[in-house]
Symmetry: C2
Subunit: 375 residues, 2 copies
C-alpha cells in the first residue's frame, strides 16, 4: 500500500513542471523454478567479511521443511524463524533489530526475507531500522526514512501480496496500521521461484491471490490511474483470471500467479489501492484480521463501488469452493466499531483514488458501519 | 537484443543448481506526460561538482526544437547533437569518448541520452567506455565490461526499440553488428514522457513500433520463453494491437506505445529475439539499413516461421497505408549476399530460440538467400 499519489497532469498543463513519482524498481530479479538455489551465489559479493552475517528471516512454517537445508548459511549467518500467524508489528521489528544488534558486533551484510507478505515486510523494515535510529513506529508514513538500509533480498513463498516489488513495509503500530513508505524500502534483490509456493494451503492460496486481484480492481478503477499502472494492472488481472477461472496445470498456475503478484504490485505502486484496502486496514487494526482474508471479507460487500470486480470475485470463490467466515464483527462494541470506521476513513489517498477529490461527500461513516456489520 | 539465453529447467530437475539470469532492471523510472521537466531535479544529486559536467547526447532532429530550451544545462554541461540517420557505430562511441576526455579534466557526472534507440544505445556505450579502457569494439559481446560505467539516464523520444530497458547497446563494429551486453549497460534512470513522441513522422512511428511488435512475436514464439517474459510479451503485444489496430486518441496511443516498448523490451531481455532479428542484423551489417525498417522488410517474408504474426503485421501495414520499399537487395554482389547470410546465421542464440537446439537442420543458407532476394 502506497498512498502518495502521482499527480495527474491534464492535457492543458502537459510540459509544465510536474511531480510524477521517480519510482524505485527492484534492481535485480531472478525468475524460474528452482532459482532459489542461486541465492548462495547471489549473496557472495554481498558478504563484507566473515563477521558480518547474513540474517535469514524465514516463515516458521518452513522450520521442518527441506527448504531450510537449501538456505546458504555461511560463517556466523543466522536463521530466525518468524511466525506469520499475525500481521507484522512495529514492536516485532524493534525486537528483531535489538536481537541482531545484541548478537553481532558488526552490522549484518544483509537481510533475506523468505515467506509471504509478513516476512517480506519484516525483512524490509529490519534492514531499514538497522541503519535508521529509533523505533519502527517513528517511520510509519511517507519518506521519513533518512538513510539507506542494509542490503535486503526478498523471496516470496506465496503469491499475491506484491510486497516483493513495493516501496512499503506495512506494519501494525501502536496507533495505526501503516507502511514505512520510502525509496529505500524496495528490495535490492528478488528471487521469484514459483516452486516455493508448492504446498500453500488452498484457502491461503486463494486469499493471498485475491489480494493481487483486488489490487488490480482498485488500481484500474481508480482516479489516479495512468498508462503505466494500467498496463501492469491489466496484465495482472488477465493472469488472475487465467489462474482462478482458467484451466491451467499446477506448474503454469504457480508461474502465472507469481507474475500476477509482481505486475499487480507494480500497478498499485504507481497508482493506489482503494475502498477494499481502506476497510481492510480498519478490520486488521481492530481485530488483527490478516490482510488477505480481510480484503476478501470486505470486498464481497463492495458491489456498489466495484460491481464487475465483485461479480467476478464471487465466481472465483464458487469455482474454488471457498466459504468465507461470517459474523466477524458481530460482537464489536460501539467504540471498537468507531475505531474501525475512523481508521478506514483516515486512509485519505485510498478514498481519493477510489472516489475522486470530493470523496468525502460520497462516503458516510454509516455506510462503512453497515458494511462492517455484514462481515 | 540479448543473446545469452536463460537456461530452461525441466520439471524433473527443478530444485537442482540452476543458471537463470539475475536480471538487472532499470532502478528508477518516471512515467508521465510532461515528466521530461523533472530531469533537472533528478540530475541534481548526481552532479559531483561544478567541474564534472552532465553530457547530453541528443538526436539532432531536436536541434531547433523547443525541447532544447528545456534541457537542464548547468555549470559546464555540454549538449552534443548526434545524427541518428545511420545505425550507431563503435567508432562513433570512441570518437565521443575521446571528445569528452579532451574537453573536460574530470570524468562527467553523467551521460543523458535523448532520442531513439540509436541515441540511447550510444549513451549507454559512451557511459561504459568512459570507465572501461580501449575501444568499444572490444566489448561487443557478452559480459566483457569489467567496471560500472558512469551514471547514465535514457529518455526515449520514439517508442518501440526497448533500448530504454535492455542490458545491451547494439553497435555496428568493423567486423560485426553486436551489442555491448552487460549488467552495467542498463540505464540508472529512465524518463518515459509520451509527449516527447509528438511529431515523430508516421513511417518512423510505424517501423519503430513494429520493432516492439516483432520483439513480442519472436519472444512469445521462442523456445526460451518462460512465464516472466511471456507475461511482459503478451502485454506488449496487446498494447501494440490497441495502438496499431484499435481506435485510440493520439494521447492514449502515445501513452500505450511507450508502455508497449517498455514491456516488449523486458520480454526479450529475459528471453530472446528470433528469425527476424537475425536476418535484420545481416541486412543492417551489409547495407546499413536501419533497424526498425530492416525488421519490417524481413518480417513480411517470414510467414513460414511466424504465420499469425506476419498476417497481423500485414493488416497493420494496410490500416496505416505503409508501403515498404522494394528491391533493396537487388544489386547485391554474390559476396555481399554471402556476408549477409553468414552474419545472419552467426546469431546462434536467436536461431536456437526460434527453432530449438537442432536449428541448424532446419535452416539452410539458400532459404535466407531467397528471402533476401525478395526484399
Amino acid at each position: 500500500m502506497d498512498v502518495k499519489k502521482n499527480i495527474a497532469v491534464s492535457k492543458s498543463n502537459a510540459g509544465r513542471k510536474t511531480g510524477y513519482r521517480n519510482f524505485p524498481m527492484v534492481p535485480r530479479v531472478v525468475f524460474g523454478r528452482g532459482s532459489f538455489d542461486q541465492l548462495g551465489d547471489i549473496l557472495l559479493p554481498v558478504r563484507r567479511n566473515a563477521e558480518a552475517p547474513v540474517i535469514f528471516l524465514i516463515d516458521e512454517v518452513f522450520e521442518r521443511n527441506e527448504l531450510v537445508a537449501r538456505v546458504p548459511v555461511m560463517f556466523n549467518d543466522k536463521i530466525i524463524f518468524v511466525s506469520a500467524d499475525e500481521e507484522p508489528k512495529t514492536d516485532q521489528v524493534d525486537a528483531l533489530v535489538a536481537l541482531i544488534r545484541e548478537q553481532f558486533s558488526e552490522l549484518p551484510s544483509g537481510i533475506v526475507g523468505i515467506g509471504g507478505g509478513t516476512l517480506l515486510d519484516l525483512a524490509k523494515a529490519v534492514a531499514l531500522l538497522l541503519t535508521n535510529k529509533g523505533s519502527a513506529k517513528q517511520y510509519q508514513g511517507w519518506d521519513l526514512i533518512e538513510k539507506p538500509g542494509i542490503y535486503h533480498a526478498g523471496i516470496p513463498t506465496i503469491s499475491g501480496t506484491g510486497a516483493e516489488v513495493s516501496r512499503t513495509a506495512v506494519l501494525l503500530g501502536p496507533s495505526k496500521k501503516l507502511g514505512i513508505n520510502s525509496d529505500y524500502t524496495t528490495f535490492d534483490q528478488v528471487i521469484l521461484d514459483p516452486d516455493l509456493t508448492i504446498g500453500v494451503p488452498k484457502d491461503q492460496w486463494f486469499y493471498t491471490g485475491m489480494d493481487c486481484y483486488i489490487h488490480c480492481v482498485e488500481s484500474l478503477n481508480g482516479t489516479f490511474l495512468n498508462a503505466f499502472s494500467q498496463s501492469y494492472g491489466e496484465k495482472a488481472l488477465d493472469l488472475c483470471k487465467e489462474v482462478f477461472l482458467g484451466d491451467l496445470t499446477p506448474v503454469e498456475s504457480r508461474d502465472k500467479l507469481m507474475m500476477a503478484s509482481w505486475h499487480g504490485g507494480m500497478s498499485i505502486a504507481y497508482s493506489q489501492v482503494g475502498v477494499a484496502h481502506a476497510l481492510s486496514y480498519g478490520l486488521s487494526y481492530v481485530l488483527g484480521v490478516k490482510h488477505g482474508i480481510g480484503n476478501c471479507l470486505v470486498f464481497q460487500h463492495l458491489e456498489e463501488y466495484y460491481p464487475e470486480g465483485v461479480a467476478l470475485f464471487k465466481k472465483m470463490m464458487k469455482k474454488h469452493g471457498i466459504i468465507l467466515p461470517k459474523g466477524i464483527c458481530r460482537n464489536l462494541s460501539e467504540s471498537e466499531m468507531d475505531t474501525m470506521v475512523s481508521v478506514s476513513l483516515s486512509m485519505k489517498p485510498l478514498w481519493e483514488n477510489a472516489l475522486g477529490p470530493s470523496w468525502k461527500e460520497r462516503v458516510h461513516p454509516d455506510t462503512l458501519r453497515k458494511i462492517f456489520r455484514e462481515i
